[in-house]
């Protein structure tokens, strides 16, 4: 038998059938968009936007990080991850697709598809004529698969369908839950998905590719919470840590650890807004989280073994302005609040979380809400995804705590080692789902939308 190679026809079992569907996975921090069938999203765009004093909105990485005068950085989301400003959110999502994937003026160029196959010299002009009627709509060419948070209900879902059909002119639309898609990205149809994102941590039990609504648990203890903890740690430390974002620094000179920085700062005629500064500070904190922060892996909470942890080697971190220090036990404390509400650092503005918001309690609540027969199966298929789950040692801690909380059943935790797969798990799941041949019967077509209205979304997208 000939070895299958790039030239041989796909095997019969291959379940994929790519219809160049678009996959859109909006999140609190970033919006991910790309074509179904690809392994990473082509377009990752920040969910924040710049609002100029003139009322003009600026989207995209390049715009939002530009220190313009009088530009407010805003998010269409509320702090607990629910879309508030639908108009802007729609624009950001659209921008994430049109800026990188389809182009603003539609359908003149179809090279993006042709390049995928080795010999893409097939005529692409033939559908140009067919697409004429959809030309004015930016995304009228390809069906759109969109993700939604697991707890989304009624109105939110109908709104998504409406936007896709009315504003973007999608020929077909489908709405899938992020938890389900994340499970698909790990190749599982039954799983307990722990999604630790920017604004929320969600625990979703999934059985046979369907999320169990009653079992979905969410809590605000996620990436932004860790950032806030870091801010508090910086403020409350004996020598407050100066948090200076990159844009303020003109040049820096090396200084010793703990010594105030000797940097020259940029001069702005009108300094950027506070929201911009806050947004930029978040970037520094993200870097700090990526390089310094670590999770105490257990057993037991950090408070029990703090003396022991103090002997661990510290990690140095240099702020953009050259200020630097070696961080010891502080780097463990920032994450501890995710697991132990008592260990969370609190002040007047940010009250301490409740214990039932911590990850393991979420899992417990989620399991208690589902049938007893599937609990063991779910615990054997715990999937951890989300950008904040990349915190060093977080998975081991979750596993340790779950094993301590559920000593009977076997707890098996699966998390991709690939950071991209972890960060964009739900998009990747959408990419898989949208490229399956058997999935194409599930799309809500334009005609169905016109016939049944928005209520069809609840019927079809279960």
């Amino acid at each position: 038998m000939a070895v299958p190679n790039q030239f041989s026809a796909p095997v019969a079992e291959y379940g994929g059938d790519e219809v160049s569907a678009l996959v859109l996975d909006p999140g609190y921090s970033t919006v991910r968009a790309g074509f179904a069938g690809e392994d990473v999203p082509k377009s990752v765009v920040p969910s924040h936007y710049g609002l100029l004093s003139s009322g003009e909105k600026l989207y995209g990485e390049n715009a939002v990080h530009n220190p313009l005068a009088k530009m407010e950085i805003k998010s269409p989301y509320t702090s607990d991850g629910i879309v508030e400003d639908w108009e802007t959110a729609t624009k950001i999502w659209e921008w994430s697709i049109t800026s990188r994937l389809t182009g603003q003026s539609e359908n003149k160029r179809n090279g993006y598809v042709g390049d995928k196959n080795g010999n893409g010299d097939g005529d692409v002009d033939m559908e140009a004529a067919e697409a004429v009627e959809e030309e004015e709509k930016p995304m009228g060419d390809a069906p759109l698969l969109m993700s939604e948070p697991g707890w989304a209900q009624g109105k939110l879902r109908e709104k998504s369908l409406e936007v896709a059909m009315e504003e973007w002119g999608s020929p077909a639309f489908y709405l899938a839950r992020t938890g389900v898609l994340s499970a698909f990205s790990m190749g599982k149809s039954t799983a307990l998905v722990i999604d630790i994102g920017a604004s929320t941590t969600t625990v979703t039990p999934i059985v046979d590719g369907m999320a169990l609504r009653k079992g979905i648990q969410k809590s605000p203890l996620a990436g932004n919470f860790v950032s806030n903890q870091l801010r508090l740690i910086f403020q409350q430390s004996p020598t407050p840590v100066p948090l200076v974002p990159h844009y303020m620094v003109q040049s820096k000179t090396p200084v010793d650890a703990g010594v105030p920085s000797a940097a020259t700062y940029k001069k702005f005629e009108t300094p950027p807004t506070d929201s911009f500064r806050h947004f930029e500070e978040e970037r520094v904190l993200t870097e700090f989280k990526e390089s310094v922060v670590q999770t105490w892996e257990g057993p037991g909470p950090l408070a029990q073994s703090e003396e022991h942890v103090k002997n661990f080697p510290g990690r140095p971190f240099e702020m953009p302005d050259g200020w630097n220090q070696v961080f010891g036990v502080e780097r463990y404390k920032a994450v501890e609040g995710l697991f132990d509400a008592k260990a969370a650092i609190a002040d007047a503005e940010s009250p301490a979380p409740r214990q039932d918001q911590c990850i393991v309690e979420l899992v417990r609540a989620s399991l208690n809400a589902v049938d007893v027969d599937i609990r063991a199966n779910l615990l054997a298929n715990v999937v951890v995804v989300g950008g904040s789950s990349l915190l060093v040692g977080l998975n081991r801690r979750i596993l340790n705590q779950l094993e301590a909380a559920f000593p009977g059943p076997k707890v098996r935790l699966s998390a991709s080692q690939n950071t991209v797969e972890r960060k964009y798990a739900s998009w990747i799941g959408g990419s898989i789902l949208g490229s399956l041949g058997a999935f194409h019967q599930m799309w809500i077509s334009k005609r169905e939308y016109e016939e049944h209205g928005t209520s069809i979304v609840d019927k079809r997208c279960k």
């Binding site: 379940g15 196959n117 010299d121 067919e130 049938d371 009977g408 041949g437 194409h440 019967q441």
Partner: protein, 623 residues
Amino acid sequence: MASRKDVQDIMGLPAGSVPPVPVPKASKMQPPKHRKTGLNRELEALYGERLPPVSIVDSKKVYRSKLTRDGPAVKWSRNRFSNPARIDGLKLRHWRPKRIADDDATSDSEQDYSFAKYNIQVTGPQYNDEEYTKLLKDDDWSKEETDYLVETVKQYYQKWPVIHDRYEYIPSNAENLPSQTIDDTIDTENANPSQQTPMALAKARTMEQLKSRYYTVCRVSMELQTPGGVQNMNEAEFQLHDTLRSYNPDRETRRKELAASLLNRPIDEIKEEESLLVELQRIQIAQPRIEGEREAIRAALEVDTKPSAAGASASPPSSSQLQQLFNHLYQNERNKKRGGGGGRLSLAPGDILQSPVMGSANGTPITSGGRDSFGNNQKRNSIAANGTQEPIRRLTPRQEARFGITTHERIVSGISFRTDKLSKMRVAKSQTQTSKISAVLAELGVPDILTLPSDKVCASFEALIKSVLALVEARKALEKEKGELKVLTQMKIQKEGGGQGVNGTAGPGTDGAGDKKADSEPAANDELDADADADAEGDEDASEAVPEAEDDDMDADPDVEVDEDAEDDAEGEDEDEDVKEEMAADDNTEIESSRPRSSRSNQKRSASVLSALSGTSSRRQKR
């Protein structure tokens, strides 16, 4: 150069005898040597004579052969296709290789979409209003809700966790109750009040309730759909029907409660279970080894006890021997332990206290079974085990005797061997006495080792020994008296002879009288003896009579009672009869105890009794 002909001439061979050999064309046949070029050649030169340690493979061969296409590249086109699984005629586009036949790539070129076959719809139970009201009416479930349930099950592909999760039946308002009107027609009285009030609220249904209702509906629907009812169903249908029918929501609820408690077990319980499982596994793994060890011990014991079992020359396993055996096994065990891995049957120095070996020598066993062999031990254990299981049963004295059960007021702890006890009895204080005893016993024909030292045998042996000792004592006294008498007569004769020489002629007469007297003395002595003997005999008889009677009971003399031991052979009976006769004689002698008797006959009698006893014992053992 000499040609072939010259050689032939020299050798004296006839010309042409050897066929001409073709000259081999060596150089042409060999494959052309691959000439290595460049770096390879120089590398090879460096090897010298030796072979390289790593064979160098020409890397050119690794590459796949170049793809050869016959014909132009396949053209691909982005076709619109319709999916038969869809009813709305949505046309999506995908890339497919363009076929030569339809060059124009019409949009509907693909009629059979290969993935349409995955469009599988779940079928649910079907019923109409009439059937519902007739067969499916339930106070707890309105038709509306039943419809909703059936629809939900269908919608979520019979995945019960999902169905339970999504089941949100909101009953229609009290104003417009279509189901109510139907219900009204059937039974107006009791349906209305019960349905109106609680059903207005969205009822939280458990999964068991949902399942139970759905299965009922399915079952009834199946019965309706099959023309002949349950009888006409095929195997699969019938099984499904049976499964549906046997669904028990209460049992399911209980099962789930159990499952939940199993899932939420605390860590201690799980650890305990784990350790128990590990222990079980260990035992199972060690089982063959333990069996082997036991076997070895048994074998060792058998070897030691075999001679005594044969009942011949060797002595029975005395406590010292068993002690030795124990030490030997203990040593073995320790050696093994040092080698690693102690079994369950490991011996510890403390074990010696509990082991049968160290029991006090004069301790009495609780039950008097047969000889203490391991086989008997097991049997006894099983009897003991039975005894513990059953309530205590009162046994008649006869049964007690039959089963060899004795009761003791005080039980000395530990185990001793009767043979030890018996052999101790043979030994007296002095050597001469010991030899005398053994001589008497040998005279009586009592073997050195009693084959079956049962309780009764032991008792009679003890009595025998007692009388033998008395006999020996009496003899000793007799000897002493005799000696004294002799000395005194001698002295008397001397005195008389010295006083009146005339008496010297009448020596024989006086001698005779003296003899007579002397004779009468021993006779008196004998009488004394006889008295002593009679006492001893009396004791002996008394002690013997009881065992005999017991023996009779045990051995089931047909004269005395109904045969209990069917195995008893005629010979044994005969012997028993003998014993009885002798006993009768004994009784007679006792009655006429004033009449002097010879101790000889007594001895003989007791010997016969003993032989009879040993005869019965040997018979018993044979059995």
